[in-house]
């Protein structure tokens, strides 16, 4: 059987491509005509606030992922390295800055007529992702002469405390005067409430989409998820994202009703912890499909579920939602979270991606795999690689590791 035929394509993707296209052309129009101000925002930065204030919002991490999945990152990372940005730091950052230096973007090929990422009027970060996002935006701030403002989040959060929520709430509020100065308009709290309500609905639908993978066989894979999350990342707080996930959810529920598997003959269920290897999505997806193994749930895709958004208390609930992000949390919390996911999705084995340039998303480095395996008996595998820097990826070693892991799991069945 041909490898490709074992993976089923999602029909709704065509619609997603259309709304993502509209989004990027909208950004381009905002940046080139000046009709709307453009804000760059980290992936779990205060996008709700920016959107409510009328900004067109660009997410550089999304651009980083595009550079990775097109493998253009391999051309641009060395450019940033040569300018003083180490090969050991975030390869989203190095790929994106290198791309800017070379004046080339994958957006041009995907969306003819777009010759650049949208030039920003303001850069807004939240260090809940990592400190690198602040350094990343600082570079652009100097390069383009626009302000970089943001939120400094605590790290290693076990239980999110009221004090931490107070702190981040104040930091979000402190952004508002600067942003109002850029747009020339006061923040409309009703509009913010509406935006938070839309984000909440998007988040709930995205959760339902991911939870369809609880079915056996699973109707979607982690690799599908990394593509389907586009609207949850770039368009949360909009009606378009909500409308899309309703369509996607209906298709996946239809698959469940009909017993249709994302991977034909699913015999093993795998959890993926860590970043995707963007430049190897297809290869990895096909490899697992030929092994009749479904990688079906992940921390990564689940990180865009924000249960705490609350339109009644928008700013404070944003603060809480951003603080509850997995990446900000303590190892003790992460261990409990992963154990819960293994049980929820009835997982046979867990793969940790040790991404060379992303320590914050490489949760294998402080003994977590050993602790989880000892507690659950579920075998684990650590894959050395990277999200964007393919110099850190050995295809043959990756393949041997994955095939041997699947052999090991099959022997247990």
């Amino acid at each position: 059987m041909a490898e490709q035929s074992m993976r089923r394509k999602i029909r709704a993707t065509e619609l997603m491509n259309k709304i993502m296209s509209d989004y990027f052309y909208g950004l381009h129009e905002a940046a080139t005509t000046g009709k709307r101000k453009v804000a760059w925002c980290t992936s779990v930065g205060p996008a709700e606030l920016l959107r409510a204030m009328g900004f067109a919002v660009h997410f550089p991490e999304n651009h980083g992922a595009m550079l990775g999945s097109t493998r253009m990152s391999t051309e641009f990372i060395p450019v940033a390295n040569a300018s003083g940005y180490s090969p050991d730091i975030c390869s989203y950052l190095t790929a994106d800055i290198g791309s800017w230096m070379k004046k080339i973007t994958p957006l041009t090929k995907a969306y003819p007529g777009i010759d650049s990422v949208p030039k920003p009027d303001v850069l807004v970060y939240n260090t809940n992702q990592c400190r690198d996002v602040q350094d990343w935006f600082s570079w652009y701030s100097k390069e383009l002469g626009v302000p970089a403002i943001g939120i400094s989040s605590p790290k290693n959060v076990n239980e999110v405390t009221e004090g931490q929520i107070d702190d981040v709430t104040r930091q979000i509020e402190a952004l508002i005067p600067t942003l109002e100065g850029i747009t020339g308009n006061k923040l409309d709290m009703d509009r913010l409430r509406d935006t938070v309500a839309l984000s909440k609905e998007c988040s709930e639908l995205w959760r339902k989409v991911l939870e369809t993978a609880m079915a056996s066989p699973s109707p979607l894979t982690f690799f599908d998820g990394t593509i389907q999350m586009g609207p949850a990342v770039c368009l949360r707080g909009t009606q378009e994202a909500i409308d899309y996930y309703k369509v996607l959810l209906a298709e996946l529920e239809e698959r469940i009703d009909a017993g249709v598997a994302a991977v034909e003959g699913e015999s093993l269920r795998i959890y993926w912890e860590g970043m995707p290897v963007w430049g190897r999505l297809r290869q990895n997806s096909e490899l697992f499909a030929t092994l009749r193994t479904t990688v079906l749930a992940s921390t990564y895709c689940s990180s865009w579920i924000f249960p705490s958004f609350d339109a009644k208390d928008p700013i404070r609930s944003m603060a809480k939602a951003y603080l509850e992000l997995f990446i900000v949390r303590s190892d003790a919390y992460k261990e409990q979270y992963i154990k819960g996911m293994l049980e929820k999705y009835r997982i046979d084995g867990i793969i940790y991606h040790d991404a060379k340039t992303c320590p914050y998303n490489s949760n294998n480095r402080y003994g977590l795999p050993q602790r989880v395996e000892a507690a659950t008996g579920i075998p684990s595998l650590v894959l050395s690689g990277d999200l964007n820097d393919l110099r850190c990826v050995s295809d043959e070693q990756t393949k041997t590791n994955i095939v041997a892991f699947v052999e090991q799991l099959q022997e247990r069945k």
Partner: protein
């Protein structure tokens, strides 16, 4: 290939197509080693596999047509389609082969040409987990080859040189290139070659031991330990207990592949027989 013959004189073949060396074994139904061959893998895996196979079959007194089933493993396992389209990872084959020689709960340490593996195997032969070295070559056979060239001594001489050492230099780096620099520094300071070689052995063992914890019983496999038994003795000293070694440590992966071939053939034959008895 899977021949129709199920007679007890059938030969089962395992081919371990490593990045550095290709190993082929021929066994009988009882798992007895009848023939074997090892060659440099070179650039034509298919040709090397055939040459090894011919040698191993000749040693076994068997012919190509006697092969009931064959399985390939190792880096070049996909390149020997002329004899088999079935393959297993070297990790599975090392576990299978290691447990064949030492049927108890073991940790297999394999030092290969390009990578190292630490594989945990349960008492019943079930795989419990494994680790492969990260991207760096330090601690692998490739590292030893690099150092052999730097010191201008052959690979064959290294075991005796290490054993003759009075002292040992220390190599601190993960990196093969940095380690080579450290070796050059020792040469520059006039350290005896034997002390340098022993230091290289020690460094390789450290790189492997830091990959994973070990269980009580430890088995070492691979060409590096087959040709450098002193490294096994050093490992035993470092971990404070004896290390198990079979007669041909380099052939353990190929043996595992051959045993898988035998098992698959026998279960396929048993299934055919059951169907015949049912008149299906």
């Amino acid at each position: 290939m899977r021949a129709a013959s199920t007679n007890t004189s059938s030969a089962f073949v395992g081919l371990d197509m490593g990045s550095s060396r290709s190993k082929v074994v021929v066994i009988d139904q009882s798992g007895r080693l009848l023939g074997h061959a090892v060659r440099k893998s070179g650039i034509d895996f298919s040709k090397t596999a055939r040459l090894c196979l011919d040698t191993a079959l000749a040693m076994a007194g068997a012919e190509f047509g006697d092969i009931a089933h064959a399985i390939a493993t190792g880096y070049g396992r996909g390149n020997v389609g002329f004899v088999t389209d079935a393959n297993k990872t070297e990790i599975g084959c090392l576990a299978r082969g290691g447990h064949h020689f030492f049927p108890e709960a073991i940790t297999v340490i394999d030092i290969g040409g390009q990578d190292n593996k630490v594989i945990k195997v349960g008492a019943e032969g079930q795989r419990l987990g494994f680790k492969m070295n990260r991207k760096c070559a330090a601690g692998t056979g490739a590292f030893l080859e690099e150092m052999s060239a730097r010191l201008d001594v052959s690979l064959e001489e290294m075991n005796d040189l290490a054993r003759a050492a009075r002292e040992m230099i220390k190599l601190g780096s993960y990196c093969t290139v940095f380690s080579a620099t450290e070796v050059l520094e020792s040469i520059r300071h006039g350290k005896p070659v034997s002390d340098i070689v022993k230091g290289i052995f020690y460094s390789m063992i450290r790189r492997v031991l830091e990959m994973d914890s070990l269980t009580e019983r430890v088995v070492m496999t691979g060409g590096v330990v087959e040709h450098n038994v002193y490294m096994v003795e050093m490992t035993a000293e470092i971990i404070g207990r004896s290390v198990l070694l079979c007669e041909h440590p380099q052939l353990v992966g190929a043996m595992g592949a051959a045993l898988y071939a035998r098992d698959e053939h026998l279960s396929a034959s048993a299934a055919t027989e059951t169907q015949s008895n049912r008149g299906e």
